[in-house]
């Protein structure tokens, strides 16, 4: 399981930050979209497009396995850019799940310290400041 409570908590934290900095586009889907795009940008620089697509496909598979409803995720076939088009009904929950799985995969492969270091490239440190984010909220 790569999207345990700690990863979901971290995903929520990132979403909360993006929702707060959303410039009016305050829906959960928009916030999760921004988190996802930041992750994509940050990770693509680091692992390359193909590397990110591999992680993404694994995360999507894990989301499908975990979701009880109809297939909530569709992957685009763009050569470089992969598009995710989420069912509206599931978008909020699935978005968090997808992000949590991506983060979980990163933590599994790179460990907690390095994962947080990479995330700090995309989000300011205060997002992770109230204790160890990967270990859940302290408050």
């Amino acid at each position: 399981m790569t999207a345990g409570p700690e990863m979901r908590d971290l995903a929520h934290r990132l979403l909360a930050y993006e929702a707060g900095a959303g410039n009016g586009a305050g829906s959960a889907e928009a916030a999760s979209g921004r988190v996802y795009e930041k992750l994509r940008g940050s990770l693509t620089e680091f692992v390359g497009v193909a590397g990110f697509q591999s992680l993404e496909s694994r995360a999507l598979t894990l989301v499908r396995l975990e979701s009880s409803g109809p297939d909530p995720v569709r992957i685009g076939t763009g050569k470089i850019e992969t598009h995710i088009d989420m069912d509206k009904e599931w978008a909020g929950e699935v978005g968090i799940l997808l992000i949590a799985h991506l983060l979980g995969l990163l933590r599994m492969f790179l460990g907690e310290a390095l994962t947080l270091s990479l995330l700090r490239n995309a989000w300011p440190g205060e997002v992770f400041d109230d204790g160890n984010a990967v270990h859940g909220r302290q408050a």
Binding site: G51, L106, L114, S117
Partner: protein, 502 residues
């Protein structure tokens, strides 16, 4: 500013223990370097160590990954090394993947992206890993030669120290434009020798720097690459001038045979067959040193330190207390895959740590067996360097060596290393009056007086005890089968020892 002033080239720490000395004090700043070698030889790890040692938030490192090992897996494994500090990412160290542009575009586009990233980040260090995968790609509108030259020129102008990492075979060394452009060329070799792996590093070229030539052993541990210079880290050390001071074995009769003891800074070889008391003598030498306030090191290869100390205790020699007091270190050097250089570094570290004046190597045969088979071929040459280096810093060495007992010859060593030793003490069995007894003789003392006498000795609960005076009335003692030169019924007569010029 003066017309006489030459440019000073700053030297950057390599982050690899031992490598700074090999490259002449550090890596030249702004140099354009290549790390080449076979897969698994430690190229990436070496580059990472340099990056982690030099990157700062103000002048970060850009680490470009190309085709080959996935970045995630690379960091998954690399972070296991103790030098890897995750907190340095991404502020001080940024990993940038160039796979897509390499796959889809040409070398010109690769250069453009590298240029863009360098201009944006202002890095002090740039690494391209693996550069080889990039140049295997068919060339587009930019040929390889100009690509290399433009990249080297650009990165140097931007004050970046650069490493290109590539898998190369040795035969590719010639006529390769990449190697011509490079300021530094580091070649890592890894060969299997019987059941062990031998890793060696060579600085094939390094512009503007006085690097140490030759092949240097290196090892990869959880601390990363560690290099062992052929000069044992003693470059620049002033050789300790020889003194006339004599060091005692703690056996008055033996000291007298040696003209007053072993000359300080000498290398002494104690040769004899099994059971003749070589280790006992060596232990007495080290114990006497401690008694006189001279810290010592014992390098053992054939038994554990505890067993060594217990054996010494059975002779009434306390090696436990000086170990606790930091006056003695018994080094047990892990057998089977050592290089002489690694052994030397362990010994030198111990010598410097406690300020040792005496060193016992017990035994050379065990030392050789502890080496990787690939290093055994160089044993004599390595031993020469080791003894020269240690005695050069004023350490007095007693080495034991086992020789096959022969009744037709009188060998000093199976290694033909007697020329390495200043002094040789030979122990052997002789058959006298139906008993197998022991004799010792000083074969040589370089530059000193020593006795010619052949003395009988015993190993007692107090260690080696020399009996009476020199053996007379025998001929052919060193053959092991002497004959009485007087009536066979007479006891061997004894005479006072005499000294002769060595």
């Amino acid at each position: 500013m003066s017309t006489q002033d030459k440019v000073k080239i700053n030297k950057l720490p390599t982050g690899v223990p031992g490598l700074d000395e090999i490259v002449g004090g550090g890596l030249p700043e702004f140099s354009f370097n290549i790390i080449a070698g076979a897969p698994g030889s430690g190229k990436t790890t070496l580059a990472h160590q340099f990056v982690f040692a030099n990157a700062t938030p103000e002048r970060p490192a850009l680490y470009f990954t190309v085709l080959g090992e996935s970045a995630i897996k690379m960091l998954r494994y690399q972070q296991q090394y103790t030098f890897f500090d995750p907190a340095m990412l991404p502020g001080s160290i940024r990993f940038i993947n160039l796979s897509q542009v390499v796959l889809e575009k040409d070398l010109g586009a690769v250069l453009e992206q590298v240029t863009r990233e360098v201009e944006k980040a202002n890095p002090a260090v740039v690494v391209v890993d693996s550069f080889r995968t990039m140049v295997r790609k068919p060339e587009g509108d930019m040929d390889l030669q100009s690509f290399i030259q433009r990249m080297a020129l650009f990165l140097a102008s931007w004050q970046a120290t650069t490493f290109l990492i590539g898998e190369y075979a040795e035969e590719e060394l010639r006529d390769n434009p990449i190697f011509t452009v490079a300021d530094g060329l580091f070649w890592l070799r890894q060969t299997a020798e019987r059941n062990s792996i031998v890793r060696k590093l060579q600085i094939i070229k390094l512009r503007g720097q006085d690097s140490v030539p030759g092949l240097h052993t290196f090892r990869i541990t959880n601390a990363g690459v560690q290099a062992f210079s052929r000069t044992f880290g003693l470059t620049g050390h002033t050789k300790t001038p020889p003194t006339d001071r004599r060091l005692s074995f703690g056996i008055a009769e033996l000291d007298a045979m040696l003209g007053g003891g072993v000359r300080e800074g000498d290398s002494v070889l104690v040769a004899g067959s099994s059971g003749t008391g070589k280790s006992v003598l060596a232990t007495q030498f080290i114990a006497e040193g401690i008694r006189q306030g001279e810290p010592g090191i014992v390098a053992v290869f054939e038994e554990r330190p505890q067993a060594y100390a217990e054996r010494a205790a059975s002779l009434g020699l306390d090696l436990e207390t000086p170990q606790k007091d930091g006056k003695l270190t018994i080094l047990y050097l892990r057998p089977l895959d050592l290089s002489v250089d690694e052994t030397m570094h362990s010994i030198l570290d111990a010598v410097q740590k406690i300020g040792a004046k005496r060193l016992v190597i017990d035994s050379l045969a065990g030392f050789e067996m502890a080496l990787s088979p690939g290093f055994r071929a160089d044993f004599r040459e390595s031993l020469y360097r080791m003894i020269f280096a240690l005695t050069g810093i004023g350490v007095t060495i007693v080495s034991t060596v086992e020789v096959d007992e022969s009744f037709t010859e009188f060998p000093f060593s199976t290694y033909s290393i007697s020329f390495l030793c200043d002094d040789i003490l030979r122990l052997r069995y002789v058959s006298i009056d139906g008993q197998l007894r022991k004799i010792m003789v000083v074969i040589k003392m370089r530059g000193g007086n020593h006795a010619k006498d052949i003395r009988e000795y015993e190993i007692t609960s107090k260690g080696v005890v020399i009996l009476g005076k020199r053996l007379t009335n025998f001929q052919g003692l060193i053959s092991g089968i002497p004959v009485h030169s007087v009536a066979a019924t007479e006891e061997p007569s004894l005479d006072t020892g005499t000294e002769h010029k060595g």
